[in-house]
Amino acid sequence: MKGEPKELKVKVNGKLYELKVKPKALLSDVLRKELKLTGTKRGCLESTCGVCTVILDGKAVRSCSVLALQSNGHEVTTIEGLAEGDKLHPIQEAFVKQGAIECGFCIPGRVMMAKALLDENPNPTREEVRLAMQGVLCADAGYVKQIEAVEVAAEKMRGGE
């Protein structure tokens, strides 16, 4: 039947959820409304701004542009999955220390974009960082400090200080 909820089993931030969702529900809808993980923001809803970026099976995707049911059987990481208790993830810490957060709205998506980049490529060139950061729009145009923050985080994650 049209619109009939279907079963969704998805691991989010290491925890397995089993729920029923409407086929037209987007991954961002389910994360925010069903799982109450509101760290993931919703911006343009037309696959332009990238603020809704999460990590799906290790790859950065726009959660407004993936049907929730397409995540069935897969693994999602959101911004809530990065910190360990009160201890921020090195990327989050670098964003704070470098003053890379202005209004903050794009930051969850941007940090997830950076995480996907550094997991795949621990030592990116500035060009690679720029290309990744380009996938999330910042209305404050605070890109320079964001790029620097990713580079600082990369160094720390590689074991330097």
Partner: protein
């Protein structure tokens, strides 16, 4: 707001084909959905049934050998093509094209087959693959057929797919020796849809350097990806000089019927098509010469 639909997530090609056959023209296939969800949200498309093929892992592959050429399963993502060592070695232009296609997130989830079946004349993969003389393998319950990608586009967002039929594979022949292929598009920011774009393939005769074969294919220049044979004729049989590329660009621009919109008027697009055919043609020529 998106309308409700009934959803299926088959895991094999056979299941996909049975579902499509059962639901006929009311069923729509979704792969990565990077284009489709946008048009569904705009209310331009409200299918009764959505068949999600993203989980059909048998259609996610690439293979290459010199005799058979390149085979790309329809569900291969843009990002996999971009990063593939095989593609970078043998079909560098495909990797370059993918690098400028949208953003990393879109390339991570969007598929090459979905892009081609969406039939957007501003898309980048079709012109490049047409320049490479690609063919598509289509499958339905009644059998298979192979069509030239060049003939696949029917109109804006319309392609030569029958109800019940799906694209399973893209086939790209190994280019002949002394062939160079290049692609560029006009964009305000890297990753934008091309305001216009051009893909050019040039094959030189060994020895005297005469152009033996050429393909000139444009994006956002008509309601479908536009191959301009009149422009190719200006090049074939001649020793290529800058002036011939300029002429090919003028011919291509005159044949094109580009849209006018917020990104550029039709007149502006025509001018830019001249520039891009000349510029991309020059790069293809350099590559054909092995430089």
């Amino acid at each position: 707001m998106m309308k409700d639909f009934e959803y299926f997530s088959p895991k094999t090609v056979e299941e996909v084909l049975s579902l499509l056959s059962e639901h006929g023209g009311e069923a729509k296939i979704i792969a990565g959905g990077q284009s489709m969800l946008v048009v569904m949200r705009q209310g331009l498309l409200s299918p009764e049934y959505v068949v999600d093929i993203k989980g059909v892992s048998a259609l996610d592959y690439m293979s290459y050998d010199e005799r058979e050429g390149l085979r790309i399963g329809a569900l291969t993502t843009h990002r996999v093509i971009e990063k593939s060592a095989l593609i970078q070695e043998h079909f560098r232009v495909l990797s370059e094209m993918e690098r400028n296609l949208a953003t990393i997130q879109t390339r991570n989830w969007g598929t090459i087959g979905g892009n081609l079946c969406h039939g957007d004349p501003s898309g980048d993969p079709a012109p490049v693959l047409i320049a490479l003389d690609a063919k598509l393998r289509l499958k339905s319950l009644s059998g298979e057929r192979v069509v030239a990608l060049e003939a696949f586009g029917k109109d804006m967002l319309e392609v030569d797919l029958e109800p019940g039929e799906i694209l399973v594979e893209i086939q790209v022949p190994t280019p002949r020796p002394f062939t160079g292929v290049a692609h560029e598009k006009l964009m305000a920011v890297q990753g934008d849809a091309g305001i216009v774009g051009a893909a050019v393939s040039i094959t030189l005769k060994p020895g005297d350097g005469v152009c033996e074969d050429a393909r000139v294919v444009l994006s956002n220049a008509a309601s479908v990806p536009l191959r301009v044979k009149e422009a190719e004729k200006r090049l074939i049989g001649k020793v290529l000089k800058e002036q011939l590329l300029v002429e090919a660009g003028e011919v291509a621009s005159a044949v094109a019927d580009p849209p006018g919109d917020i990104h550029g008027t039709a007149k502006y697009r025509r001018e830019m098509l001249k520039v891009f055919v000349r510029r991309v043609g020059a790069r293809a020529l350099e590559r054909a010469k092995g430089r």
